[in-house]
């Protein structure tokens, strides 16, 4: 029990008794009673304070004091709403930007698979001296899973987009093809339905498991779905289980809707890869029990794979490496990791600017509260108590800022993810994990940033309040004329300018670089061209597709507004690359080179606007049965025929032994990427193309109308043939824009952050100078009274304010030249010290800061000398 109450109840009696005893003693010593009582009280000290101190012994002083500080803090903050709003908004922007970026960093870089002990999961990497592949052939996987003695729980998987149902109602879903031990390895079982161990055992059949999300989306969580049958790519599967919510497989890029046995691959693809030795398509993951060394596992796996590879004729260096798979497997991660970290650094700087801003505000407030602090010190508040009061107030502000920040972050990341999904980055829907959930990580992050910021910002003026000079302050409410706090504030302003200029320069460089990216000469003119691709499913044979393709091409050409149309594999800026061997005739002993190849129909160059430099285009007369022909890109022609005319020469391509004649040279184009240089590229007629090109045919249609109706017309043409076909029609400019979406986002986001930084810095400068001007009103009054011209006063105040700003900008510029070294890899066609950008940033900053200082300076010049002097 707390003995506090009884102890304190008798305290007053105790003290009264004490004083009476002392009085009695004094009387006994011969003092007159009144004098005796006075002396006793004097000797005892301040009764109220003694009672307070004694009570404190029994209280929980820390919490009670903090509560008291908070009550007082709230009162103070409510009394000064403009100060409070400015501070909270600054912090909300700063912390909000950080929270938003952090939530992406968390989702993409930090989150681990929602399975027990994800740190025990490793994926196997197939490394040859040429490349590190994440996939193995099915046979290799079988060897690993069946013969491995200490490889742990080995499982294999692969991804497929599957067509669910048939006809117009059919739609695409993501399926993960998984091996027997997949769910055992991930230690995840179905939330509803069968034990997934059985999925493996019934693998010959066609069991399927669905995700919780898919269950919700497609079946409205109906329990009747268990045991029902669905058609995936035209094959019947029985749904036997539903996975727990949140589990989407081992990847965040592909949130799987279906899990099906990997042995159903032949039915799904219409072509078996199960016994193909050279095709690597199975990703292998293993759960390694604690105590097994990765080295031993890697060695055993290497030995097994080597033996298997040798037996199937694949020789050479081969190694199996282990890679931690605790985090979901993601292509997005590798694409976005470094831009995200850059953004993280940038919002960190932004937060710093915001903090300095709030520090300004607190400094100014602290100066205004000089008198209050002095009084509190005089009546006996400890310095520690004063400090804790200030920190409490700043933590209140920071917390309010933090709460707003989470809301801002939530709105911002939602807008951002919607924008990205609208652009279908990497041609897949945005992973669920990237959508902003205010999860615990993110909230803890925002809260800790807010608290740290609160303490730092609160402490900075608090340290100053330490040297409050009691006598000086009590004598006059006018601020004492010490230079220290003023130079501190100037120093803060300098820092703020430095950081925000740095931010602005980074943003400027990224935006300039993105502009350059847009101005790059692609070698063809994309505007007005629409690319169409059809998902043929498994219902059509290659021969049928060829016929339909030709018919569609004719129909496209006949559409109103279409000036030309053609077909090719691959299309421009497609995500698949095709390669061909290339060898001059008569050099057949040498190792053939591998070059990019595009198989095109007649009119491809005209449709895309690729200039034909020499010779002729393909014609309908170049067929499967006529002489092999090939067209070279300029780079190819120059590297193989530096001096002679390539047209008419003969070369060996596509692994054939029959030579092909070079019939023309076209100028270079960027085939896959704006950033990469034009590839060494050859063109062959679509009719003479080797390999499984038919299903990948794209149509290129150039129309005079830049509007979208043409896309609708194209889709209608395809649906006239088969309304069940899934078609993808997209203007080439959009495809290209998507390929540089990351750069676009980086440019616009840093631009946005740069502007926020500039705004915060301008508000900081404005606030600081306004405060200084109020302080200097008497001095300015005297100057004016003594005959100073108003314009001179304006100039004086403005110039003095601009000094720290100019210093800050100079330091910022120096810092930027050093810091942008880290930026080089993000810049395209632009030096990191691009003078245009630097000049523009300096100018923008100078003008904004100059204007922010001009307003208070003008107010200074408008001071009325008589009022000013009376004021003092």
């Amino acid at each position: 029990m707390n003995p506090r109450k009884p102890m304190l109840q008798s305290l007053e009696d105790d003290i009264r008794f004490h004083i009476e005893s002392e009085t009695q003693d004094n009387i006994d010593r011969g003092m007159p009673p009144e004098e005796a009582h006075r002396a006793a009280l004097l000797k005892f000290g301040n009764v109220a304070r003694v009672m307070e101190d004694t009570r404190e012994v029994w209280s929980m002083p820390w919490i009670e004091r903090r509560l008291q500080d908070m009550r007082f803090g709230f009162r103070m903050l409510l009394k000064h709403p403009s100060f409070t709003i400015a501070a909270v908004l600054s912090l909300a922007l700063g912390i909000g930007a950080n929270t938003a970026v952090f939530s992406l960093v968390d989702a993409l870089l930090l989150q681990r698979l929602p399975v027990p002990h994800p740190e025990q999961l490793f994926s196997l990497v197939r490394a040859t001296p040429q490349e590190r592949g994440e996939s193995f052939s099915y046979k290799e996987f079988l060897v690993l899973s069946q013969n491995g003695r200490q490889l742990g729980e080995v499982a294999g998987y692969a991804y497929r987009t599957v067509r669910v149902g048939s006809g117009p109602q059919s739609e695409n879903a993501f399926a993960q093809l998984v091996s027997d031990h997949y769910f055992t390895a991930l230690a995840k079982n179905a939330a509803h339905g069968s034990d997934l161990g059985k999925l493996g055992r019934q693998a010959s059949g066609a069991d399927a498991v669905i995700s919780d999300k898919y269950w919700q989306r497609q079946f409205a969580r109906s329990p009747a779905v268990l045991g029902s049958t669905v058609a995936l790519n035209g094959n019947a599967f029985t749904i036997v289980g539903i996975m727990p919510a949140g589990f989407t497989g081992a990847s965040i890029d592909y949130a799987a809707d279906y899990w099906v046995p990997i042995t159903s691959q032949p039915q799904l693809d219409g072509d078996s890869l199960l016994s193909a030795a050279g095709t690597h398509w199975v990703r292998v993951i293993t759960r390694v029990p604690p105590g097994l060394s990765d080295r031993a596992i890697s060695a055993e796996a290497t030995a097994l794979i080597k033996r298997q590879a040798r037996s199937s004729g694949e020789g050479g260096e081969l190694r199996v490496e282990l890679e931690n798979a605790a985090r979901p497997d993601s292509g997005l991660r590798s694409a976005l990791a470094s831009p995200l970290l850059l953004l993280f650094a940038i919002v960190g700087l932004l937060l710093l600017v915001a903090c300095v801003n709030v520090a300004h505000l607190f400094e100014a407030r602290a100066a205004a509260r000089h008198h209050e602090f002095s009084v509190r010190l005089a009546i006996g508040a400890g310095r520690a108590r004063l400090l804790s009061q200030l920190v409490t107030e700043s933590i209140i502000i920071a917390s309010a800022g933090g709460v707003m920040a989470v809301l801002i972050a939530w709105a911002a990341t939602r807008a951002l993810t919607n924008y990205i999904s609208g652009h279908s980055l990497l041609a897949i829907p945005l992973p669920e994990g990237l959508r902003f959930h205010p999860n615990l990580h993110v909230l803890v992050f925002a809260a800790s940033v807010a608290v740290v910021v609160g303490v730092i910002v609160g402490l900075s003026p608090a340290i100053r309040s330490d040297d409050v000079d009691l006598r000086m302050a009590l004598k006059s409410s006018a601020p004492s004329a010490r230079s220290n706090p003023r130079s501190r504030r100037r120093w803060l302003l300098t820092t703020q300018m430095t950081i925000s200029l740095l931010l602005l320069i980074v943003a400027g460089l990224l935006i300039r670089s993105f502009q350059k990216l847009n101005e790059v000469d692609l070698g063809f003119s994309p505007s007005g061209v629409v690319q169409v691709q059809v998902d043929w499913g498994t219902l059509y044979t290659d021969g049928q597709i060829r016929q339909i393709a030709d018919r569609l091409l004719d129909q496209f050409r006949a559409l109103p507004g279409v000036s030309s149309a053609s077909m090719a594999v691959p299309g421009v800026f497609s995500r698949s690359t095709w390669q061909s061997t290339f060898q001059l005739q008569g050099q057949s002993s040498a190792q053939p080179a591998l070059v990019d190849v595009t198989a095109g129909a007649p009119g491809f160059f005209r449709t895309l606007g690729i200039p034909l430099l020499r010779g002729r285009d393909f014609t309908p007369l170049d067929t499967r049965n006529t002489e092999r022909v090939v067209i070279l890109s300029e780079t190819m022609a120059r590297s193989y025929f530096p001096t002679s005319d390539p047209v008419g020469q003969r070369v060996l391509v596509q692994g054939e032994t029959i030579p092909a004649e070079i019939i023309g040279v076209v100028s270079d184009i960027k085939l896959h990427s704006v950033l990469a240089s034009a590839p060494r590229l050859i063109y062959v007629p679509l009719t003479q193309a080797k390999g499984p090109v038919t299903r990948s045919i794209t149509w290129e249609i150039r129309s005079t109308s830049l509007e979208n109706p043409i896309v609708g017309a194209l889709v209608r043409q395809v649906h006239q043939i088969d309304p069940g076909l899934h078609i993808d029609a997209e203007p080439v400019v959009d495809t290209i824009a998507q390929s540089i979406l990351v750069q676009r986002l980086a440019a616009w986001l840093t631009g946005l952050f740069g502007l926020i930084g500039l705004l915060l810095a301008a508000v900081g400068a404005y606030g600081l100078l306004s405060y200084t001007v109020v302080q200097r009103v008497p001095e300015i009054g005297i100057r004016l009274a003594l005959g100073a011209v108003r314009r001179e006063v304006l100039w004086l105040v403005w110039r003095q304010a601009m000094q720290p700003i100019a210093v800050g900008m100079a330091v910022g510029l120096l810092l930027a030249t050093a810091a942008t070294r880290l930026l080089s890899s993000y810049l395209f066609g632009l030096s990191r010290s691009d003078p245009m950008t630097l000049a523009a940033c300096l100018l923008l900053m100078g003008v904004v800061a100059g204007f922010a200082c001009y307003l208070p300076a003008r107010r200074a010049a408008e001071v009325d000398p008589t009022t000013a002097l009376r004021f003092e």
Partner: protein, 120 residues
């Protein structure tokens, strides 16, 4: 009241008061006023205790369990609170005293040369 000159009085160091109270209560149970008088008297009136500061200290000691309090009757037959040393407090007193002695010795050791230097 005190007859000592102002400049000869010493203000108590933080925490020393606790030690003095413990030592004083070793003589037996006392009420607050008696403790204050005892300290003053036994120090030859050199130590000036603001009597009020006794009470937070007493309560601190009670909270730590070094002393306890009980109702009693004072010498002039009035009800008053008497403070008495607990077993824990007794142990603490021994500990604190030896600590204090060490501190005093150490400070004396440092100050001694200065005294000698001051001599002609």
């Amino acid at each position: 009241m005190s007859t000592k000159e102002q400049r000869e009085r010493i203000e108590l160091l933080q925490g020393t008061l606790d030690l003095l109270i413990l030592r004083t209560l070793q003589l037996g149970a006392m009420h607050g006023h008696a403790i204050a008088k005892a300290i003053e008297f036994r120090s030859n009136e050199v130590l000036q205790v603001e009597q009020g500061s006794l009470y937070p200290a007493l309560h601190r000691l009670i909270r730590r369990g070094w002393i306890s309090a009980a109702e009693g009757t004072s010498e002039n037959n009035r009800k008053a609170k008497f403070y008495v040393l607990t077993a824990k407090g007794r142990r603490q007193l021994v500990l604190e005293t030896s600590k204090w002695d060490k501190l005093a010795d150490a400070i004396a050791l440092i100050l001694k040369p200065a005294e000698q230097e001051g001599q002609p």
